[in-house]
C-alpha cells in the first residue's frame, strides 16, 4: 500500500484540526480549513464548561487528546464487539475499552460543542488478529502516555492540568500492562520522554487507521422497483 498523506487519511480533518491548533501551524492549508475548523475553535472559546477557565490553546490540547482517545476507544471497542481476541488477551478489550470510552465521555463533556467530531476508523483486521492486536495496543498506550506528557507543560489552566494528569497516569498503567503481556519490560527507563505533536502525527498517519466515513445517504432519485 502506498504511503498516504495525513490529509488523505484524515479526511474529516479531526486529527489535523486538533494538531494544527495546538502546534500553531499557520500553513495555507490550515487557513484554508479555517472556515470549518476555525468555527470549532471559536466555538471552543464560548464553550460554557470551559468559558473563562481555559485558554484557546488549552481547548486545542483537549481536542488533540480527544482525538487520541477516540482512536483508543474505537480500537478496544471494536475488538470487544468482534470477539476475536481470545485467551490471556481476552480481558483487554472490555477493560481498556470501558476506560477509554470514559476518557472520551469526560473530555467531550468538558469541551461541549467545541469537541471535534469522531473520525471513522478502519483497523484493517488488527482487531481480529491476536498478535497484531497486542502489538498495536502496546503502541497506542505508549503513544497516549507520551502525547499527554509532552503537552502537560503547555496547559495553562492548573485545573485542566490536574484532570489531564489523572488520565495520563492511567494511560501509563495501561502501557505497562500491555508491555508486560507482550514480553517487554514495562518500565525500561528511569525517565520517560514525551512525544511531540509531529511525532504523534507521523505515528498515527503511519497506521492508516483513520478513514473516511462511509457515504450512507444520497439525494439521487430512487430507481428501485417501486
Amino acid at each position: 500500500m502506498p504511503d498516504l498523506t495525513l490529509e488523505e487519511l484524515d479526511r474529516d480533518g479531526a486529527i489535523q484540526e486538533a494538531v494544527q491548533a495546538v502546534s500553531g501551524d499557520t500553513r495555507a492549508a490550515f487557513l484554508g480549513k479555517a472556515a470549518v475548523g476555525g468555527a470549532a475553535l471559536l466555538g471552543a472559546l464560548a464553550a460554557p464548561e470551559l468559558a473563562g477557565a481555559a485558554a484557546t490553546s488549552d481547548v486545542a490540547i483537549l481536542n488533540y487528546a480527544l482525538t487520541l482517545e477516540y482512536l483508543q476507544s474505537a480500537f478496544y471497542t471494536e475488538a470487544e464487539r468482534l470477539g476475536a481476541i481470545k485467551g490471556k488477551l481476552a480481558p483487554i478489550p472490555p477493560q481498556l475499552g470501558a476506560v477509554e470510552r470514559a476518557h472520551v465521555k469526560a473530555i467531550k463533556a468538558a469541551l461541549g460543542r467545541a469537541a471535534v467530531k469522531r473520525p471513522a476508523f478502519d483497523f484493517q483486521g488488527v482487531t481480529e488478529n491476536q498478535t497484531k492486536f497486542l502489538k498495536t495496543a502496546v503502541a497506542f498506550e505508549d503513544l497516549g502516555t507520551a502525547a499527554y506528557k509532552a503537552q502537560a507543560a503547555r496547559i495553562k489552566s492548573p485545573a485542566l492540568l490536574a484532570a489531564a494528569v489523572s488520565i495520563h497516569s492511567v494511560e501509563a498503567r495501561h502501557a505497562a500492562w500491555m508491555r508486560f503481556l507482550a514480553g517487554a519490560i514495562p518500565a525500561a527507563s528511569a525517565f520517560d520522554q514525551g512525544k511531540s505533536i509531529p511525532q504523534v502525527r507521523a505515528i498515527v498517519a503511519s497506521t492508516h487507521f483513520i478513514a473516511a466515513h462511509p457515504k450512507k445517504t444520497s439525494r439521487k432519485k430512487p430507481k428501485y422497483t417501486g
Binding site: L50, A102, A106, A109, N129, A162, A163, V170, K216, T217
Partner: protein, 263 residues
C-alpha cells in the same frame, strides 16, 4: 594564656557561633521561605473535570455488523484465494453511496490471510460468500432489525430485540413478488423529488427475481408513496411501501446496515 591563645579562642568561638546561628536560625529568619514548607503550600487545584466510572458494553444478542467495501474484490465460495468466485464487489452502489456488506463471521486461511463471511447484494437472493479483509474498510454496528411480514402486511423494527416501530405496508403484486429471505439496508435516499417514492427511500440488498432488467439492477426499496389509500395491500412491483408519515418515522429509527428479514 597568652594573648595569641586568647585571640585564637575568641576567633574559634565566633566561628562556632556563626555556624550554629546558620544551622539553627535559617527558616525563622527568612519569612519568604515559609511558604516553601510542604505543609504550608496551598491545596492542589480541583480538576477541571472528573473521568466517570468506566462502563462495560452491553452484550445484546441482537447486534449486527456491516463493513464498507474499500477495494473492488471477488467474493468467493470459501475462504481461499483458490475458491470459485461468486460475485464482483464494487466500492459504490448505483445510488452513489458506499457499498456495504453484512458481516456474518471470519476465518483465517492457511497462509494467515483473514477472510470475512458476508451477505451479498446479488442474485440469487440470500447468497453469502467470503471476501478478503483487506478489501473491506470501516466496520459498523447496529442494534436494529427490520422484520417484514408478507402475510400480515406489516413492517416491525426491533431494537435490541424489542419492537420500537410497526406500520402497515404495501408489497409486491403476485406477478412481481417481494422476495423472502435475509437481507440488509444498504443506503437511504432523501431530498429527491419524486412523489411516487415519497420523502425517503431505503435501498436494500434484496433484488427482484422477476424484474431483472429493471434500471440499476432491480433492487427492492422501502419507501413512501403518493397513494396511501391502497395500503395495506399487494400493490407494488416488489418494493415495500409505507405511508409517508411512517417512512419518515422509520428514517429516524433505522440506521443503514440494519438486517432485514422478509418472511
Amino acid at each position: 594564656m597568652t594573648a595569641v591563645a586568647r585571640a585564637f579562642a575568641v576567633a574559634v568561638a565566633a566561628v562556632v557561633a556563626a555556624v550554629v546561628t546558620i544551622l539553627v536560625w535559617p527558616h525563622s529568619s527568612a519569612p519568604s521561605r515559609a511558604a516553601e514548607q510542604p505543609e504550608r503550600l496551598p491545596a492542589s487545584p480541583k480538576p477541571a473535570f472528573v473521568v466517570p466510572r468506566p462502563v462495560r458494553l452491553s452484550h445484546s444478542v441482537a447486534v449486527s455488523y456491516w463493513a464498507s467495501v474499500r477495494e473492488e474484490a471477488l467474493a468467493r465460495m470459501a475462504p481461499s484465494a483458490g475458491a470459485p468466485a461468486v460475485a464482483d464487489l464494487s466500492t459504490t452502489t448505483p445510488e452513489g453511496t458506499t457499498n456495504i456488506v453484512l458481516v456474518l463471521g471470519r476465518r483465517t486461511d492457511g497462509s494467515g490471510r483473514l477472510w470475512v463471511h458476508v451477505r451479498l447484494p446479488v442474485l440469487p437472493n440470500g447468497r453469502t460468500a467470503w471476501v478478503p479483509r483487506r478489501a473491506l474498510g470501516v466496520y459498523g454496528v447496529v442494534h436494529a432489525h427490520l422484520v417484514v411480514n408478507l402475510e400480515g402486511l406489516t413492517a416491525t423494527l426491533l431494537r435490541d430485540g424489542r419492537p420500537v416501530f410497526r406500520a402497515s405496508i404495501g408489497v409486491g403484486q403476485p406477478q412481481w413478488p417481494t422476495p423472502r429471505g435475509q437481507f440488509y439496508i444498504r443506503n437511504v435516499l432523501t431530498s429527491f423529488s419524486s412523489p411516487f417514492y415519497g420523502p425517503v427511500a431505503f435501498g436494500t440488498s434484496a433484488r427482484s427475481s422477476v424484474l431483472t432488467d429493471w434500471p440499476a439492477g432491480g433492487f427492492i426499496g422501502i419507501h413512501g408513496t403518493d397513494a396511501p389509500q391502497v395500503l395495506p395491500g399487494r400493490v407494488s412491483h416488489g418494493c415495500i411501501r409505507l405511508r409517508n408519515e411512517d417512512i419518515v418515522r422509520l428514517w429516524k429509527l433505522m440506521p443503514v446496515g440494519t438486517p432485514l428479514t422478509i418472511r
